[in-house]
Symmetry: C2
Subunit: 644 residues, 2 copies
């Protein structure tokens, strides 16, 4: 074999344009096969439309149409009522990879990379040779601009083929038409599933899907409220990379270290800034541009060692437990599951990026018992339909031993089998996807851990639910026995002895020796009279007014021999609004209502009730009750309060 020299090898070295790279590696962008290509094309368009509507403060109205031509070519149309795109930006946004508005901003959004929609156009051009057609109108009364464009992959720039203006009825909006080679027959189901799942976690969006054969599916808007807009934040000092810190210091306008820290990081006030500088042994007046690597290293270390407030949640827009529960209920109504449980973790941080995990678990009903549990994954309100095996959420679920929760799992590892659906939602300013196709989340240990914690919480709730059910069932048998049979015996004995029927309350109390708490929940439709609107609360601004009042009635019976006095807590969903509460509670927070129950004599009962508005029927269908200042072992129907 002849040797080749470095000079000869050098001749082959070349720059690779990013468009050329992805043209060759289209599978990285989610175009690995023709089924997936159809879904990716729709997904990138719809995600973009949702993002831009929300950013502009417009309730999204999205139209998706797919026409399947001969030879496996599909024309995909995505139209929205968003703010539109100004003329100069159209070629950049649609004809250039790695160009966008959301990459440099730290806040939750669906798109992050500036790749998605241009990738669809690149794929369309690669497979069909056709140009994409973009039309965009930015203001009522203006004409619409219609641009036909191609991508010059050698340069990663758009080639504008034609540009004209026209009339469009919409006040504003964007319409993308792109022809792609795709498998319509197999792909349409994925598109349908994706749009349905999207509509579940984006109840504020109206989505219309017109299939090739003319069938129209409308995923109705069920909420008139645009999700709280996530606020752009500065990087958080926890987990910021040393290299990023150095780069930030090089580019800062601050002349002093202290002002650099305070102005360019979130959660840093005077006190924490002083603490960080002191811990690092650095003069606060240092010019950050002149600092050495060692000084940055010290500062970087100090950041990890001092106590800094968690990043603000404003940059995140989680779905919320109620909505998750509602979605799961909706998804599973034909299954009549035994129970639905949700858990929401507090926000956390990885590499300086805030993130939050929400989880849900549906169990029982007619769900198949011997197949792996179904996992529904969402990232920033976008359903993830592919690459489940490569996703950190899957590995987190797989690492929990589910056997003790009654699911089947050989050797206590892997996806468990059993009648359950798991839902997980990751919201973050920066979802660490394993690839540009945004189908799976990378195995970042912080995220894996939070997903585990969320599902462990679900699992614990499952156990508690089952334990409570069993305990209450047992006590109820005893209760039924003595409250029904004892009086019968008493009556009969009295009759036989021709004596008056004795009072049994005290005897029953002696036998039971517990405080019995039970509750029922009722739903009442209300008309929107002014009175009721007030009842529903003045906090309703921005809340969904469903016209349903959820009424919770709690019965507390003292079957102990001594009078009882204790505190009772009822958990309430964060997004509910509290109406009438009886008796007067001593505290109401976002999460619970607290009563101090006055002394209940033996064999006496107290009624407690509260009303919730802002929920749909069934959103709240079981009370979660806790007691304090009483031995919880004596109480049936409530657990020990563990504190806020």
């Amino acid at each position: 074999m002849t040797k080749v020299t470095a000079q000869e090898l050098a001749k082959k070295q070349k720059e690779i344009s990013v468009a050329e790279f992805f043209e060759r590696n289209k599978h990285i962008l989610g175009f690995g096969n023709q089924t997936r290509a159809l879904l990716t094309s729709v997904k990138e368009g719809v995600d973009n439309s949702l993002d831009s509507c929300e950013e502009a403060g417009i309730l999204p109205d999205i139209y998706v149409e797919i026409n399947n031509h001969e030879d496996g070519e599909c024309k995909v149309i995505i139209e929205d009522n968003g703010p539109g795109i100004i003329n100069q930006q159209i070629p950049h946004i649609f004809g250039r990879l790695l160009y966008g508005s959301r990459f440099h901003a730290i806040r939750q959004s669906r798109g992050q990379q500036g790749i998605g929609i241009s990738a669809v156009i690149l794929y369309g051009q690669l497979t069909t040779g056709k140009h994409a057609k973009i039309q965009s109108k930015i203001e009522e009364g203006r004409p619409v601009t219609v641009v036909e464009l191609a991508i010059d992959t050698n340069k990663n720039r758009a080639e504008v083929i034609s540009r004209k203006t026209d009339h469009w009825d919409k006040p504003s909006g964007t319409r993308v038409e792109v022809s792609v080679v795709a498998d319509y027959k197999r792909g349409r189901r994925f598109v349908y599933d994706y749009l349905q799942s999207t509509s579940i976690v984006n109840p504020h969006a109206q989505i219309t899907f017109k299939e090739h054969d003319g069938t129209v599916h409308v995923f109705e808007r069920t909420s008139e409220v645009i999700p709280k807009k996530s606020i752009e934040i500065k990087p958080h000092p926890y987990g910021v990379e040393l290299g990023t810190l150095i780069k930030m210091a090089k580019n800062t306008k601050s002349r002093k270290l202290s002002s650099f820290i305070k102005s360019e990081f979130s959660s840093m006030g005077d006190r924490t800034t002083i603490a960080a500088c002191e811990k690092a042994g650095l003069d606060r007046d240092l010019n950050p541009r002149n600092m050495t690597r060692e000084q940055f290293l010290a500062l970087h270390k100090a950041f990890q060692e001092i106590k800094i407030m968690a990043p603000s949640m404003d940059c995140l827009s989680p779905i919320g437990e109620t909505l998750i529960k509602r979605s799961l209920k909706h998804e599973t109504k034909e299954i009549s599951p035994e129970f639905i449980i949700t858990a929401s973790r507090p926000p956390s941080v990885y590499s300086g990026n805030p993130f939050q995990i929400e989880a849900g678990l549906v169990y029982g009903g007619t769900l198949p018992k011997d197949t792996p549990v179904q996992i529904m994954r969402f990232a920033n309100r976008v359903p993830l339909l592919y690459q489940q095996g490569g996703c950190v959420t899957t590995s987190a679920i797989s690492s929990i031993d589910w056997r003790r929760y009654g699911l089947d799992q050989p050797s206590g590892k892997g996806i468990p089998s059993g009648p359950a659906i798991f839902l997980v939602h990751v919201s973050s300013t920066q979802i660490p996807f394993t690839s540009e196709s945004k189908e799976a989340i990378a195995d970042v240990p912080e995220i894996e851990n939070e997903v585990k914690l969320a599902f462990r919480e679900c699992a614990r709730k499952v156990q508690k639910h089952i334990y409570k059910k069993v305990r209450r069932q047992k006590t109820r048998e005893k209760f039924d026995l003595i409250t029904k049979i004892l009086p019968e015996i008493a009556k009969k004995s009295a009759k036989m002895l021709e004596k008056p029927v004795p009072m049994l309350d005290e005897i029953i109390t002696k036998i039971m020796d517990v405080v019995w708490i039970e509750d029922i929940i009722e739903y009442e439709k209300i008309k929107r009279t002014p009175l009721q609107t007030t009842l529903v609360g003045e906090n309703l601004d921005g809340q969904q007014q469903t016209g349903i009042i959820t009424k919770s009635k709690i019965l507390v019976a003292n079957y102990k021999r001594t009078p009882q006095q204790f505190n009772l807590y009822a958990l309430i969903p964060e997004d509910a609004v509290v109406g009438t509460v009886e008796p007067k509670p001593i505290k109401i927070t976002n999460n619970y209502i607290k009563w101090k129950l006055n002394t209940i004599p033996p064999a006496k009962k107290v009624d407690v009730s509260f009303e919730l508005a802002g929920l749909d029927k069934g959103d709240f269908d079981e009370n979660d009750l806790y007691v304090e200042q009483i031995n919880p072992a004596y109480v049936i129907g409530a657990d020990k309060w563990e504190g806020d």
Copy 2:
């Protein structure tokens, strides 16, 4: 909520540099956590070294050292004896993402993207703020250039911090030193596994690994032969994308369609070119630059419809069944498996890219019975250690119903459990990795299908193996009975009757009524005398001379009542060299030896034997025998020959 206009949104639109993109998305490059970061850093360096040594025709000698500093920082050193890199190229190759020599070439190599090693340097800089140190020497007698560099992520260009020359003992080579934040404690095992697996499928490489504590592991070179250099080829017309075809036509120097097709595609001669043009209804003299989209569409369609020779295998460098078997044997020697089976598929094409699948299966021994089978994945001779769940090879394996092959698999889907190891190697000019971290292969249907076919072939061989074993066992019992007990009875009866012992051969034949074939294999060490070198064959050029002769002796006994005459085939490994063969065969190919056995009278035996060189002891440990021109139902120990 206030509405935001398109103009306001436009202000935020920005270009994203590719370095900046990956700095933010380091998990995409395989730096998602600190354990993985260590492996990725080593892997990218070693893959690069192997590629450049092979390209230059040098037997690779690679040195890897990791020093673990306080604060979780590791200094990773990778040194090779490759051709080195010329001075001007150093900053580009190490300090720029998407720059390289292998992206634009269609041939098998480990690196394809021009991202890997620069990504390591980017990650090092991001996490430690330190510069990378590169030293490179391109020729004996020249000094070595030592460059310290950083990456300006806003521009995706290297910043050369310092450059000097020095003396280096090596004739030529490259050394990279980069500090990264990584988890040494957990990561070192992965590095060790990766280097070991790499050495298994790259027996021509010598790899030395020095751990932090000074322990040195040497993975010895076991072959002095550099793998056949894969040849750069032109794109194959099958599966070339329409967009790529149009782009090629726009850039071609050919003025005529026919010369464009012949000169820029592989496997296209005069005849196929004419056929393609005719099928497409296109004039061969058309100027390709002036063709319309419809004309390209017609040509593209015609390419798929005419018969074109498969792409040349020269661009691929598969491992080979013998080496796979040897590797598996080596890997599993402590397990003493029941059998090892391999399968190699013919090359195929996806999207114009040739690829080939090789598979192996180890069964039994002390392998655990109730855990999922172990899957060893390789792509272009690089072990894939992460993202197994997201890899097409895994989904292909999971889609086969393994229950009928004796493995445990609930509902016939998913990774089976049982005492087995699966190995799969994908070689391609373009491995469709799911992301730039090159850990999993995308679900390209053509690849999935070939992997399935390879494992089905393995599975069929397993079944055949078991069936053969059972059938031979049964027949042997019968055989033992009549060949041992009948003569005893005859002897005793003769003695009792005082008559001579009768000849039993004919009776035995009547009872057996089969042709019995059995074989043994022996290994003989040889000294390299001139005679034996000749025996070993003149084809040995470029082959490993192990000094082992594998001797296969086949006994063919006719226990049928009539004389038998038939053809016998013995399969041989492709990379073996055939020595003495007795009796003289009528055909020897790369894959088999064929004998025409002259009439064997009833109760007579024939000895057949052949010798193989170029194999290690145990590479060939079981004959695969076939018969022709005889009813295979009468034959024990060989199957029906199904043709070449």
